[in-house]
């Protein structure tokens, strides 16, 4: 009884924080010129417009006594109506599709490079010693700085954008896979060897399962960075997808479009991050009690 009550209270608090946040956004949106800030519902939503009208009536009813004239009503286009419009026109699905294709292609290439190379480097000691320092250097370098080079050398179409996503994502995957695979106890390999396991079986039955939870940590980082890379590629190379919608809206001072795009990019980020976090905690048990 008590537990469910506490739980209900928790849910109520989360919900009220959402309502509070939306209210603050709505009020802030109505305060500014629509080129600087727009509300969530805005004047396109009749019931919100009616409430705003009442409030203005009351306010200027009092302020009018002191001689303040009510200014002309301004349009405050809402973010939600703009999003709905975007969905109805069908552009929304095209944009999301373009963004996801870009992200998915780049991410798949990064996994295809990072996972095998990371395990290989853990297996071949000399290769690891040779490349480790350079990989760490690239891992901490802000890859955003590579965008001008990619633009100059490869152009601005789909594949150059994919290269941007790969650059943002491959090093976290590689680095964490390497660190994970390195922590494998030599005994495990020795046992597999003494049962005459071939190198291929060793990879699939020992190395990959052992490394997976560590690699997933890298994959989670890579998802975060990859989304930045995706939007950066869409903003700085050719304008497609959600990033393209974002930058085009900001160029035409369509603030509702800007906020709508940011909202959608955030939703995309949250959903993918949640998914990978679930995956990570699902496989975290494989790490065992070590570390």
């Amino acid at each position: 009884m008590f537990r469910s009550g506490a739980r209900l209270l928790g849910v109520a608090q989360v919900l009220s924080s959402l309502v509070l946040g939306l209210t603050i956004w709505e009020i802030a949106g109505w305060q500014f010129n629509s080129a600087h800030m727009v509300p969530f519902f805005g004047s396109d939503t009749p019931w919100v417009a009616a409430i705003a009208d009442r409030i203005a009536d009351a306010w200027y009813g009092v302020a009018g006594i002191f001689g303040a004239a009510r200014p002309e009503a301004q349009a405050h286009p809402g973010t939600l109506p703009r999003l709905i419009e975007f969905v109805q026109e069908g552009e929304f699905f095209v944009a999301v599709g373009e963004s996801l294709t870009l992200f998915g292609t780049g991410f798949a290439i990064s996994l295809a490079i990072g996972l095998p190379l990371g395990i290989l480097m853990a297996r071949l000691r000399r290769l690891r010693i040779a490349l480790e320092g350079y990989i760490l250097g690239l891992y901490v370098t802000p890859m955003a700085a590579m965008i001008p080079f990619i633009l100059a050398i490869f152009g601005y179409l789909f594949w150059p954008k994919t290269i941007v996503v790969v650059l943002f994502t491959v090093f976290p995957v590689l680095y964490n896979t390497l660190e994970g695979a390195r922590s494998l106890k030599p005994e495990m390999v020795e046992v597999a060897r003494s049962f005459r396991s071939s190198e291929i079986r060793l990879w699939f039955d020992v190395l990959l399962p052992y490394t997976l939870p560590f690699a997933l940590t890298g994959i989670r980082q890579a998802v975060g960075r990859g989304l930045v890379g995706m939007v950066a590629a869409e903003i700085f190379l050719s304008n497609t997808g959600l990033g393209g919608w974002l930058v085009e809206s900001s160029r035409s001072f369509d603030m509702a479009g800007v906020l709508g795009a940011i909202l959608m990019i955030t939703v995309l980020g949250t959903v993918t991050m949640q998914f990978v976090q679930r995956l990570e905690s699902r496989f975290a048990a494989w790490r065992g009690t070590e570390r």
Binding site: L18, L20, R126, T141, P142, Q221, V231, F236, F253, G269
Partner: protein
């Protein structure tokens, strides 16, 4: 081993020198790294000579460009501009993030009210707010500072709240038992025992802040290393631009090294958690 003995014995003769060099390159850590670096640079040099347009950066020309860029005051102005913005932004994020993080971690109500927003903003790719921030702050360095703070703040908050949550209950109970004042419990017990988490958070935040600074500079043409790289790459002076990238790489390594050093030096009991973005 016998190779080593021979090399030492025959040192001085030509064959001995080659053997010693081979031994160094293949059997010592520094030598193997050097060899790999040499191979990478050679492949880059030959590859660009054979297949790429003449303006593409090449190792030999980068070496040639190095002294030219190093004496360029514009380069140092750009470096200082970026670095100072990152440091100021990190300090703001550190102070604000620590306070919010303590609240979120210690007060369940604040955790439920703010947790949703903190996680949402943390998962939001920081570049998405860049157009918004340039509209609000103009195409100048205030927009960059805002981007840096935004990029850094939420990883600090998340780490500090984790740290505040993981304070052993006994510490606080003992504090209460001795009638410690609230501010002592918050700042002398909770904050201190969350300190390693704060540093880990700053370590992650530093990387994000650097990316944020570069992106903001490229997007809004603000003086700094990002703009330096963009301008030179556009002007077909890629070799000069690469020197800018090297400076960013040095910053990245420096931050990483500094934070790891601080953690190891003062908080040897803290196990490095699995880093975030």
């Amino acid at each position: 081993m016998s190779t080593g003995a021979t090399a030492v014995g025959a040192a001085g003769t030509g064959g001995g020198m080659i053997a010693a060099a081979t031994r160094f390159l293949l059997h010592t850590t520094a030598g193997v790294r050097l060899l790999a670096g040499g191979i990478i640079l050679a492949v880059w040099e030959i590859g660009t000579r054979l297949f790429a347009a003449p303006f593409v950066a090449r190792p030999l020309e980068i070496v040639a460009a190095f002294p030219r860029v190093i004496i360029d005051p514009g380069y140092w102005a750009a470096t200082w501009s970026s670095l100072s913005a990152v440091i100021v932004g990190l300090l703001i994020a550190l102070v604000a993030g620590t306070l919010i993080g303590l609240l979120v971690g210690r007060l369940p109500v604040a955790g439920r009210m703010l947790g949703f927003y903190v996680n949402g903003f943390y998962a939001m790719p920081m570049i998405a707010v860049l157009p918004l921030l340039t509209i609000w702050f103009g195409y100048e360095s205030a927009a960059r500072l805002a981007t840096i703070v935004f990029a850094a703040l939420f990883s600090v908050i998340i780490n500090v709240s984790d740290g505040a949550r993981s304070v052993p209950r006994e510490f606080i109970e003992v504090g209460r038992a001795y009638r410690a004042k609230a501010r002592h419990i918050w700042f002398d017990i909770t904050l201190l025992s969350a300190l390693p988490y704060i540093i880990a958070g700053v370590r992650l935040a530093a990387g994000r802040a650097l990316v944020g600074a570069v992106l903001a500079e490229i997007f809004a043409s603000i003086e700094g290393l990002g703009m330096f790289i963009l301008a030179n790459a556009r002007g077909l002076r890629q070799n000069d631009a690469v020197v800018g990238v090297l400076m960013l790489c040095a910053f990245g390594l420096l931050f990483e090294w500094l934070m790891n050093w601080v953690l190891r030096r003062w908080f040897p009991w803290y196990r490095r958690g699995d880093g975030e973005t």
